[in-house]
């Protein structure tokens, strides 16, 4: 991926249209998934991905943009936008639009509602972690990034990523035990 990214970045800096199209097509699906997991709404997630690529383009046009690690760079922008979006719409769980009809696992309306509530609760737990803990957890468990790739997103050493992972899991358990009546399963 790294040598591929280097090639992409060379083309992107020249604003080569075909390279930019390849970058968009290759990375936008996983960026959409990441965005959607954070914001919980397909349309907003699409908007965030679109804005991320516009910012990338704008940075390139101004002579900036990433020197390396393009994917990590885009993940950082996505996260910034998702955080801004979350802060703007921070409201109690019961007032949120759960977007129940678009859940792929919804077999019937009851299941759909239950699934959407479970997703909303999971997101609430996620958003109570620190920004960096949340990034590590989602990138590692859902996006499938390696420690090295997450380190590039966070611009931190791999050791710090492992530490954030540990602290994030502990924080999650504390939050679940305190506010969500979570009890450990059978050992």
């Amino acid at each position: 991926m790294v040598s591929q990214e280097t090639e992409w970045l060379e083309g992107a800096r020249r604003l080569d249209e075909s390279t930019l199209a390849v970058i968009y097509d290759s990375l936008s699906p996983e960026l959409y998934n990441y965005s959607c997991r954070l914001v919980g709404d397909a349309e907003t997630a699409e908007d965030i991905v679109s804005e991320t690529f516009f910012r990338f383009l704008r940075a390139l046009g101004a002579g900036g943009g990433p020197k390396d690690h393009l994917r990590a760079y885009l993940y950082r922008i996505i996260h910034n936008l998702a955080v801004d979006h979350h802060r703007r719409r921070e409201e109690p769980l019961e007032n949120q639009d759960l977007d129940v009809q678009r859940s792929p696992s919804a077999e019937n309306p009851d299941d759909a509602v239950e699934h959407s509530l479970a997703q909303a609760q999971a997101r609430e737990v996620l958003w109570r972690l620190t920004d960096e803990q949340r990034q590590v957890i989602v990138l590692k468990f859902f996006q499938g990034l390696s420690n090295e790739e997450i380190a590039a997103v966070l611009k931190k050493p791999v050791g710090a990523v492992k530490s954030l992972q540990h602290r994030g899991l502990k924080s999650m358990r504390r939050i679940l035990e305190k506010d969500f009546a979570f009890t450990e399963g059978p050992q």
Binding site: L57, V138, H166
Partner: protein, 300 residues
């Protein structure tokens, strides 16, 4: 990194691979992840809209022209940029005249004050001269240059005081922090090309200054001075902010803008205003009328 964190990492790998986790403590820790499992499902994007967004991106790519190389190479180095855009000698002469008028003193006093340290009697004159120079500067780029020069000066003062075994007043570190914060805020007013140039320089320079502060800290024994810690914190914040600005100038501007105007919208638009060279992501209005990330007020 502790061995425990390595063990947790291995347990995470096993969990992700669906393998059993032998350590019961870690198993219970990883069970918390089951709560997040519903997030594995992601609704499929609207294909028509996705295609529209893709096309809009490619159309904008065609319209985007790279900034010219001469423009990119205008500024080289933190201090060299001070020699551009304005005449320091002219400014300095103006300051001397102002000081002479204000205090009836001699220009020699002002010259002597230039090298004074916070522990010396002439230091207030030095501070006053800096304030005057800043007040006389109206161009934002020149203002940033000046503030960075002042922050260099504060760093040199900290180093000089420590070398002489003198205490570093907290005010020096506070001033350093204030110069750097004001420089960042002023940078937010610049266009993208100028902003990225300055941020790259600030990032490099702050990394160098952090090394200097680290060495000073090593020399100060087990209990580094509060001022040194404050200066390190300020410099580290600047480094992180500069890195963030290089990644995403728009978010940097929004964050700086929030502090700039008390009556500005709390969370202004993610999108820049339409117009010259600004991005205007399509599809910011959802088809169902829901607000997308770009549906707020214009960026300040």
């Amino acid at each position: 990194m502790s061995k425990l964190e390595d063990r947790v990492d291995q347990a995470v790998s096993s969990y992700r691979a669906g393998k059993p986790i032998k350590d019961p403590d870690l198993q219970s820790l990883l069970e918390t992840m089951d709560t997040l499992k519903p997030l594995e499902d992601v609704p499929a994007p609207d294909l028509v809209r996705s295609q529209q967004l893709r096309q809009a991106f490619l159309t904008r790519a065609k319209e985007t022209l790279p900034v010219s190389l001469p423009e990119l190479k205008r500024h080289i180095g933190w201090k060299n940029i001070l020699k551009k855009e304005r005449s320091p000698m002219f400014t300095f002469v103006r300051i001397l005249i102002l000081l002479a008028v204000a205090f009836g003193g001699t220009t020699a006093t002002a010259f002597a004050a230039q090298d004074s340290l916070p522990s010396e009697a002439l230091y207030p004159v030095k501070s006053l001269m800096e304030d005057v120079r800043l007040a006389l500067t109206s161009d934002p780029e020149a203002e940033v240059d000046l503030l960075l020069q002042f922050s260099d000066e504060r760093m040199e003062e900290i180093a000089a005081l420590m070398e002489q075994g003198l205490p570093v007043p907290d005010a020096v570190a506070t001033q350093l922090q204030s110069h750097l914060n004001l420089a960042l805020k002023t940078c937010a007013e610049l266009d993208d090309a100028a902003l990225l140039q300055l941020m790259a320089q600030i990032q490099t320079r702050s990394q160098e200054q952090l090394k200097v502060l680290e060495k000073l800290g090593e020399g100060s024994g087990n209990q580094p001075e509060d001022a040194l810690q404050l200066a390190t914190q300020a410099m580290n914040n600047v480094r992180v902010t500069a890195e963030g600005a290089l990644d995403d100038p728009i978010t940097f501007r929004l964050h700086q803008g929030k502090n700039r105007s008390p009556d500005a919208p709390e969370y202004p638009d993610m999108l820049p205003a339409n117009g010259t060279g600004d991005s205007q992501g399509p599809g910011n209005k959802g088809s169902n009328g829901k607000k997308g990330p770009g549906d707020q007020d214009a960026t300040p």
